[in-house]
Assembly symmetry: C2
């Protein structure tokens, strides 16, 4: 048919303005503010996903990710989606129907792991503790003894609670029980001490929009030798085409076989984010996050605001602040947003209405952020008695 003869529906052809958004201070659980160098890198012109220039860039990303995660794992790649896609990739690839998995649930993202694992046909068991607390080595040992799972899933940095799960000794236990150790490092990578190989973590995933300061849309994943061995022994196809690492490893490996079109500019951004981590160095970066978090906690204490998580297990990247009695949760957050352009978040799940979630991640982790946030919070709370 000639193009003239088509009848075009003009209803949805709306007039829109050139993109503009107010600058926000993203002091919630993520996304954090994107580093300007990362936005600049993302606006670099496109190349194809099989271009020799892009293939070289892929190698650099892999190597820089290994540094950030402190792993020698050959299979260390960014997944073409957000952090939840990488979480799902880790489970979809390692679980075969009927496999037993034990998940430590002490927050919202542990629950998400359970939901995903069930969809892939796993027999899911849960270790539970109150939101904001962490599991002891002995609790984990008992869980492994009782359930004898093929996989133990733990959240290193629970973005919903601000608790940091210690990993000392867990890797050894998992090997003793012939179990893979899977870790959610979404809110720790690049900001919180994390040594994948030293801790004998077999599988880990992360997000780009937390301590790495890259926009969301690309998500690191790594599989160690023990995880790859399980993947290679699969009897069934991975029950997820897009996230099937048995195919993707041919694109990220030597063959460079096309699977899906990589998100080119998100990879530009992630590379820049990881370069910034490598320039600063992990030790300096971890110390900075710790020092800035301490000054936030000191300031909160001066305002008689309590933190939900015990000092010992408190994440430097994400702090849950107990909402004082008589203070209107939403009114405070709305005033922070409207008057100061500051975004913090409310609680999720069982912490809903009980805490605020404050994240100072990556280059947001600096003295000016703390000073601004504390001042604005004081004003907002004073104005928000119920």
């Amino acid at each position: 048919m000639e193009i003239e003869h088509y009848v075009i529906n003009e209803t949805h052809r709306i007039q829109t303005q050139q993109l503009d958004v107010y600058p926000r201070f993203l002091f919630g659980p993520g996304p954090s503010n994107a580093h300007p160098r990362i936005l600049q890198a993302m606006s670099m012109r496109m190349v194809g996903h099989l271009d020799p220039q892009f293939l070289a860039l892929m190698d650099e990303i892999q190597e820089l990710l290994r540094y950030a995660w402190q792993t020698d794992n050959r299979f260390t790649i960014p997944v073409s989606g957000t952090g939840s896609a990488a979480m799902e990739a880790s489970l979809a690839n390692l679980i075969e129907p009927g496999d037993k998995i034990l998940v430590g649930v002490n927050g919202y993202f542990g629950n998400r792991m359970v939901d995903m694992a069930e969809r892939y046909g796993a027999e899911v068991h849960q270790l539970r503790c109150p939101w904001g607390e962490v599991f002891s080595l002995e609790e984990i040992r008992q869980g492994l003894e009782k359930y004898r799972p093929a996989i133990l899933g733990l959240v290193h940095a629970e973005t919903s609670t601000g608790a940091c799960q210690p990993f000392d000794g867990i890797g050894d236990l998992c090997r003793q029980y012939d179990c893979l150790l899977l870790a959610d490092t979404v809110t720790s990578l690049g900001g919180v001490p994390l040594l994948l190989d030293a801790w004998k973590i077999d599988v880990a995933y992360s997000g780009s929009q937390k301590c790495l300061n890259c926009p969301p849309g690309i998500a690191p994943l790594t599989l160690g030798d023990r995880a790859l061995a399980k993947l290679k022994k699969r009897k069934s196809k991975v029950a997820n085409w897009y996230l099937d690492m048995t195919m993707l490893m041919n694109y990220w490996g030597e063959n460079r076989t096309y699977h899906h079109t990589a998100p080119i500019n998100m990879n530009y951004g992630l590379r820049e984010a990881l370069r910034i981590v490598a320039e600063e160095g992990l030790e300096a970066r971890w110390k900075r996050h710790q020092t800035i978090a301490q000054s936030l906690w000191d300031g909160l204490a001066e305002m008689d605001l309590a933190c939900h998580v015990a000092r010992e297990y408190r994440l430097p990247s994400l702090t849950t602040v107990v909402i004082p009695e008589g203070v209107d949760d939403k009114a405070v957050r709305q005033r922070l947003l409207k008057e100061f352009n500051i975004e913090i978040a409310g609680g999720l799940g069982e912490l809903s209405g009980k805490v605020w979630r404050v994240g100072l991640m990556g280059f947001n982790s600096r003295s000016a952020s703390v000073a601004l946030l504390l001042s604005a919070l004081k004003i907002a709370i004073a104005g928000a008695g119920k």
Copy 2:
């Protein structure tokens, strides 16, 4: 443990250069060159995925997508991944184990649809015809009669062959046989006549990096009322968490419930891409693609180069050129890339080594592209006799 006491492995802390890539003319099957306005939009500062500013932007994207696709479907959203993720989303949500699906396979992406549908437990039947040809209405009627599928999947624009499947009458047939009509519009959206509602297509998906000139990493998906009705009647959870539209519709709908963190800056880019489509208008855009493609085909004919697809079914956005006997496929492509910075692609699957794939998509569809490509191709072919 004190941060000083961690032992940092410095092996992977490589030195890298500031990001730079040679400018390429992306005249292959995609990604196409990103429009500079889109790259600019993508470098806009971040806001949160629940920020009122972002929620307003989501509404605009949905509305502009409806225009581009010519649909009133309320459920019209971008999926947080590349085109293959949107393909998988369409199948994962509509297929319940045991459902019959009939897939028209006349190229690489029909095969991909089969692979994905099998992973979701469908009973998959195939209609097959040679790569580069299309299905007649009668063939489709016979297939529906024989298999009585719940879903008919067809590729509107086969990126592997350059064939454009006509849709006249298929929608009515599908309703007659109580079957959902699913269309792959990855290489047609924004460049090739496509009227979802007029053609009674129930489900469609696309990519961002073809005729829309947005980088890959975000992918349109739309579900009409008949598709939503099937989704709502599901007895089992969608077997894919990240792409579960029963949850995502609460984020894209009125509740704005958090599911996963949307890729903010990819959404900025897609919005700009769709604004550009709305500014030019679909009719003008379709005509431009047609006119420019015709001048490419005329020029190829003058060089005695044949197109693989019959004129009647030839896509204006993607042309498969038959590689003349005695000419070295790879040598031509490498010379184009190295000497002229032009990327075209080789054939996929059964067309591997037999055709080149040339795409002039979105703002790449202009006279200068044709002139450059024809001149460079002439030189490269002359130098690449086997």
